[in-house]
């Protein structure tokens, strides 16, 4: 689309390596070029269907994380309260020894493993295998639980299978109407917005968000429900779709089951009633129903705004019910999709780092699945542990009588990204042993007994599965700094020290992928027909790919859904509201989210000076009336306090936000962590915490400047790259 304006696409140096971005689930295609002398690395966007040759500021600056001053290059081992440099052999031996001792005394589940949605498929796979085979622990989960597990659960309920977007993103260009719920791609995956432009240009882009986000500003119609009332809104629009006669009766009869029960719930939510709960006009609910109902092609897309609630699964189900009633899913040119957030948010939930799952998106409780995977792993299926606790439950139990006493963390910065972060930080500190593998000294690494410096995206091969289920090969473009090892290497090193045969834990990504293919064969997420060679050859492969000649499955539901009878299921859901509502003491609703120039816990993006210059300051977005009501003005430093903690943030007045709501980005460390506030009320199905709603009060900070605001303006390490003992000192709680 904008290729004419793209630099780099026409003039690619011969040394450039085609790869993909290190950040979000759009996985923009890029060329990575290492200077001849190896001193610098540059990236440039590459023409590809998903990003159309586009790239955002994070992508453009991605290479700066490779040689960030704070980059970890030596293993660190804590002695006498301080982290000291150590050899790899020493560090791995300390880790293996600690795990063995703790398991010997307290049993296999005394060691837990925590993964991440940014890890490659190979790492996710090997991490799950490591936990179940080398450690024989059931205690493994990952940060994807915090971001898309509700959509995954709802997708499984409705369609029998969860593939975030069951169609290529380019299909969106032909839509007349797109309903985007709780998603802000203009900030979180900017090049994605090009796929929304045709619908927006035709007056058919509807955005549901309590805030007037950059995405909402581009919408033809922006609905601003009170935070935590999205489910009611979905019911109201379904109601309006029925009374407006937009329901596709033939589709209901041929391709779905359960409409009547779902309608009985929605019948009680007529638009005028929904209006009182959500604040969204009944007329606007009817307008959305009409826009979607009259469109030739229409999509319903949801993201974290729908999911991160104690009723997140039901909320997503409510939006899927609407899409089903209109006859959208499983039709060429229309559909329902979830915008996955993390780089490998899709692949990360398929290959066994989830508490209840084995590779290939197989349930760990299914005897046939256990048999198959145990066969690939060369072990007895009886020796495979069962399902373990979900992420927050795992973290909440750390160091307790019944919980894990040791934890291994890969690719996650829990101390910043988990809900009720101060409590979680205390739980981490309460462990007998914590080991963290990371690229930079994250806030979680600072708490560790052993820190393992690992390679990152451009320094290693690996596959990622993007938001549309397309498997991508990220290729090694540069040599890693001396002293770092890949996560796969770390797992191999630990496994051998734990007595595992070397061939069981290969460190070569392609070898691991070939094993993943076999393990996933026959599962929902069947990768058996995908190979590095096919990906190197430029093939566009969406899973399932059940054999080597299979062309991939860009649109898996066209002929039928994945339930045995081929029908999609309506799920009857009703609105109950958030777990914590404002009261006199905590009169405002806080909601959390992301900024364009930062990514997740900020561990990577806070290393990049240009991104820090763009958006390096923690702030709280407040309506000017609300600010005045609490004695605050634009630029003041405020304390935002919930029942769980206090966050320090600069007040940023925005007339576009609801006066009853404040917004906080969650990328910043220490006292600026938005997650000091958040409520770990869990969804009963997905176990997703309620990041999007908690009750807070707003106060002017009494006196001195907030701890940490100065630090936010620079990378969290000393200028010479050595490890600040203060940072590494384990003093929390």
């Amino acid at each position: 689309m904008v290729d004419a304006a793209q630099p780099g696409t026409g003039d690619v140096p011969s040394t450039a390596t085609p790869s993909h971005c290190s950040y979000c689930a759009l996985q923009c295609a890029m060329h990575i070029t290492a200077d001849a002398d190896g001193a610098g690395v540059t990236v440039a966007p590459r023409s590809f269907p998903t990003n159309g040759g586009g790239m955002c500021q994070k992508g453009w600056t991605a290479a700066e994380v490779l040689d960030a001053p704070a980059r970890l290059t030596t293993p660190l081992v804590r002695r006498h309260g301080r982290l000291h440099e150590a050899s790899w052999d020493e560090a791995l031996t300390v880790v293996a020894g600690a795990l063995r001792d703790i398991q010997a005394e307290h049993g296999p589940d005394a060691v837990g493993v925590f993964g991440g949605g940014g890890l490659t498929n190979e790492k996710c796979y090997l991490l799950g295998k490591f936990a179940r085979v080398a450690l024989r622990t059931s205690v493994i989960d990952y940060n994807g639980r915090f971001c898309m597990s509700s959509a995954a659960a709802a997708g499984n309920r409705a369609f029998g299978m969860d593939r975030g977007m069951p169609f290529p993103v380019t299909d969106l260009a032909n839509a007349d109407a797109i309903l985007l719920v709780g998603a802000n791609p203009a900030d979180t995956m900017p090049p994605f917005v090009q796929h929304l432009s045709p619908a927006a240009g035709g007056g058919g882009l509807i955005v549901v968000d309590p805030r007037r986000t950059a995405t909402a500003a581009r919408a033809s119609l922006h609905l601003q429900p009170a935070p935590g009332t999205d489910l009611a809104l979905a019911l109201g629009i379904l109601h309006a779709a029925v009374t407006g006669d937009y329901v596709d009766e033939a589709y209901l009869a041929d391709r779905t089951a359960g409409f009547d029960e779902a309608w009985r719930q929605a019948a009680a939510w007529w638009p005028e009633r929904v209006e009182q709960v959500t604040g969204v006009a009944a007329a606007d609910q009817r307008r959305v129903a009409a826009l979607l109902g009259r469109a030739r092609n229409a999509y319903v897309l949801t993201a974290r705004g729908s999911e991160q609630h104690a009723t997140g699964t039901d909320t997503v189900s409510a939006w899927i019910n609407l899409a089903l009633a209109l006859g959208l899913p499983g039709r060429h040119g229309s559909g329902y999709g979830c915008l996955t957030g993390q780089g490998n948010g899709q692949g990360g939930r398929e290959h066994g780092q989830k508490a209840d799952q084995l590779p290939g998106y197989r349930p760990i409780t299914d005897p046939a699945a256990r048999e198959h995977v145990a066969g690939v792993w060369g072990i007895d299926s009886d020796s495979l542990p069962g399902p373990g606790p979900s992420a927050y439950e795992l973290l909440d139990a750390l160091g307790s009588e019944t919980g894990p006493r040791a934890l291994l963390v890969f690719g996650s910065n829990i101390a910043v990204s988990a809900p009720r972060a101060e409590h979680v930080t205390r739980r981490l500190a309460g462990l007998d042993f914590l080991a963290v593998a990371d690229v930079v000294p994250s806030e979680t690494a600072a708490l560790a007994d052993v820190v393992l410096p690992v390679t990152q995206w451009a320094e290693e091969d690996g596959t990622m599965t993007n938001l549309e289920g397309r498997v991508l090969l990220r290729r090694k473009a540069v040599d890693p700094p001396a002293g770092v090892r890949s996560d796969l290497d770390v797992l191999a090193g630990l496994a051998s020290r734990l007595g595992q045969p070397a061939e069981r834990f290969p460190a070569d990504p392609e070898v691991v992928f070939d094993e993943l293919r076999r393990a996933s064969a026959g599962g929902f997420a069947d990768y058996s027909g995908i190979s590095y060679d096919r990906l190197r050859g430029g093939e566009q492969l969406h899973w399932p790919v059940p054999h080597a000649e299979h062309p991939g499955t860009p649109r898996p539901f066209l002929d039928g859904f994945a339930h045995p009878d081929g029908r999609a299921r309506f799920v009857p859901v009703t609105h109950t509201g958030p777990a914590e509502v404002p009261d006199e003491e905590y009169p405002l609703v806080a909601t959390t989210g992301r900024l364009l120039a930062q990514y997740q816990s900020g561990a990577q993006t806070r290393q990049v000076a240009e991104l820090m210059a763009a958006q390096g300051e923690m702030f709280v977005e407040v309506h000017p009336d609300t600010a005045r009501r609490f004695g605050l003005a634009d630029g003041d430093v405020a304390e935002v306090t919930s029942r769980r903690g206090t966050t320090v943030a600069v007040v940023r007045c925005a007339p576009s936000i609801r006066p009853d709501t404040v917004f906080l980005p969650f990328h910043f460390p220490e006292q600026q962590r938005a997650n000091l506030l958040t409520n770990p009320a869990l969804d009963p199905t997905s176990r997703m915490p309620e990041f999007k709603v908690c009750a807070v009060q707003l106060n002017k900070q009494p006196s001195e400047p907030p701890a940490g605001t100065e630090r936010a303006e620079q990378a969290p390490s000393t200028p010479d790259g050595s490890h600040d003992p203060e940072l590494a000192a384990r003093e929390v709680g």
């Binding site: 689309m1 904008v2 004419a4 304006a5 793209q6 630099p7 780099g8 966007p45 159309g52 040759g53 586009g54 790239m55 955002c56 500021q57 453009w60 203009a186 900017p190 090049p191 994605f192 917005v193 090009q194 432009s197 950059a214 581009r218 009170a226 029925v242 009374t243 407006g244 006669d245 009547d260 029960e261 309608w263 009985r264 019948a267 009680a268 007529w270 005028e272 009633r273 209006e275 009182q276 959500t278 604040g279 969204v280 006009a281 009944a282 007329a283 606007d284 364009l596 120039a597 763009a614 309506h623 000017p624 009336d625 005045r628 009501r629 007339p655 006066p659 009853d660």
Partner: protein
């Protein structure tokens, strides 16, 4: 079974059905509470609020049913349809039932009266037969059966007289007008919906409805009805009518409560526990009278059902009902009306801040009454998004935004006219490419440095390399610079 509280709910309408749902939701196994629901109508409960949609033809009969046939069975609730409660013996805590199974006595630990209200038929000749039932062609607007009868008679061109210009009467009138009937609304007051509206709003509303072909006869009442011919009015005029829809108000069903010796005023008097004067008997919904509650709306009934379910199941013994901030919404196609709270204060009032705008040509009227910076009441016609926001502030008692005009008018207030930012006038700090945080000044610098085309500017500044939507803006800046060179 011992120790399980026997709850009999007399009434299977909106309130009674909701209470049964709320109880079973809190006690899914039926361990604490055994529920019997007794309903006089032959059908399982349906959603009365949606009946105007049935009349308008946007929902079928089945779509308004609250419960499937299997609902009661699945939840272990004993539902008796086509059964009336004929008496209560408060001493023995027994109710007498009359239904398909004949006469029956049923003991209770707790009795809940949820009997709703009955349509009031004005005293005009010919509206009722000797036995008190409505005459041929005279149809109250209350039950699903009433709606079915109304719809069966409503053909294009059929003259219909609607007695009552309140909420229900207007919803029926609008639905019938949409079916092509020739509708006249006869209303005794000087203006319609006088319980919820001020005169200004009512006049704009009547004007809008007149545009849908509805004729109004205000300040007069029906004197007599001649079946198949029409209605004679007390002002001497005549309205043709093959059908008379009666929506002249309702009366709470209190007969049973009175016979049981309970305290009855307009309705059965209840306290914050929803208790009647007999603590073993509760009342909710239209038949109940709670101080500070507007009768006839579903929201109070459902909130009462929730509180009572908390109390009866022991889920929350601290639950109390303290009234509902009820919002009246007219459900009529092409009309968007919300009214709530005090709407009688006029601009210039000493004790309130009142904003008011009348725009009859576009069917808009907006009146906002504020006290202590909170919404005390409003009438909002034809400004749907503002109505939603203002009602939300009213219900949650949150402070009103200081920009009163934007609050009153919502999207009807045109957004501040930002002059189309020409490349020349745009400040240098304006972000042109948000995906890459590129301000205009950096593009100008790049141009001065020799970059001329969009591609060259992109190469230098990264502008346009995200989603691409700023490409024309960058091109515009380049052309402007070219022209000034």
């Amino acid at each position: 079974m011992s120790g399980k509280r026997k709850v009999v709910i007399a009434g299977y309408g909106m309130a009674g059905a909701r209470l049964a749902e709320e109880i079973t939701a809190r006690d899914p196994g039926g361990d604490r509470v055994g529920v019997t629901v007794v309903g006089a109508e032959p059908d399982h409960a349906y959603n009365r609020v949606l009946l105007s949609s049935v009349v308008a033809g946007t929902l079928g009969d089945d779509a308004v049913r609250l419960h499937s046939e299997s609902w009661a069975c699945l939840r272990g609730v004993d539902v008796r349809v086509a059964t009336t409660v004929t008496g209560v013996d408060t001493a023995t805590r027994t109710v007498s039932l009359h239904g398909p199974r004949g006469q029956e006595e049923l003991g209770y630990d707790t009795l809940v009266l949820a009997q709703g209200s009955a349509p009031w038929i004005p005293p005009a000749d010919g509206l009722v037969t000797e036995d008190g039932s409505p005459a041929e062609g005279v149809l109250p607007f209350r039950t699903l059966a009433d709606c079915q009868a109304i719809v069966a008679r409503a053909r294009a061109g059929t003259p219909v007289a609607v007695l009552g210009g309140g909420l229900l009467g207007l919803e029926a009138a609008r639905g019938l007008a949409g079916r092509g009937c020739r509708v006249s609304v006869i209303h005794p007051c000087e203006y319609i919906m006088e319980r919820q509206l001020d005169r200004g709003a009512a006049e704009v509303l009547a004007g809008t409805l007149a545009g849908y072909g509805i004729e109004f006869r205000l300040g007069t009442t029906a004197a007599g009805y001649v079946p198949g011919d029409g209605v004679k009015l007390n002002d001497g005029s005549w309205v043709p009518a093959d059908m008379v829809v009666v929506a002249a108000g309702v009366r709470p069903e209190t007969a049973l409560a009175e016979r049981a010796g309970l305290r009855v005023d307009q309705g059965v008097v209840v306290d914050d526990w929803l208790r009647t004067s007999d603590p073993r008997i509760h009342a909710i919904g239209d038949c109940a009278q709670h101080p500070g509650t507007v009768a006839g709306l579903v929201q109070p009934a459902w909130e009462q059902a929730t509180v009572l379910a908390e109390l009866l199941t022991g889920a929350d013994s601290g639950a109390r009902y303290r009234g509902t901030a009820a919002v009246t919404r007219l459900k009529a196609s092409g009309v968007d009306l919300a009214a709530f709270g005090d709407v009688t204060a006029e601009p210039g009032s000493a004790d309130a801040e009142v904003l008011c705008l009348t725009d009859p040509a576009r069917g808009r009227y907006a009146k906002l009454v504020l006290r202590d910076d909170r919404v005390a009441g409003a009438v909002l016609l034809g400004v749907p998004d503002a109505a939603a926001t203002i009602a939300h502030h009213y219900i949650h008692r949150t402070p009103a935004p200081s920009d009163r005009l934007a609050f009153l008018l919502g999207r009807a207030l045109p957004e501040e006219q930002v002059p189309a930012s020409s490349p020349a006038t745009m400040p240098g700090s304006t972000t042109v490419c948000s995906c890459n945080n590129v301000p205009k000044s950096r593009i100008v610098d790049a141009w001065r440095g020799g970059a001329r085309t969009v591609g060259e500017l992109a190469e230098t500044t990264r502008a346009t390399t995200g989603c691409g939507s700023c490409t024309s803006a960058v091109r515009g800046i380049a052309s402007w610079l070219e022209s000034t060179a």
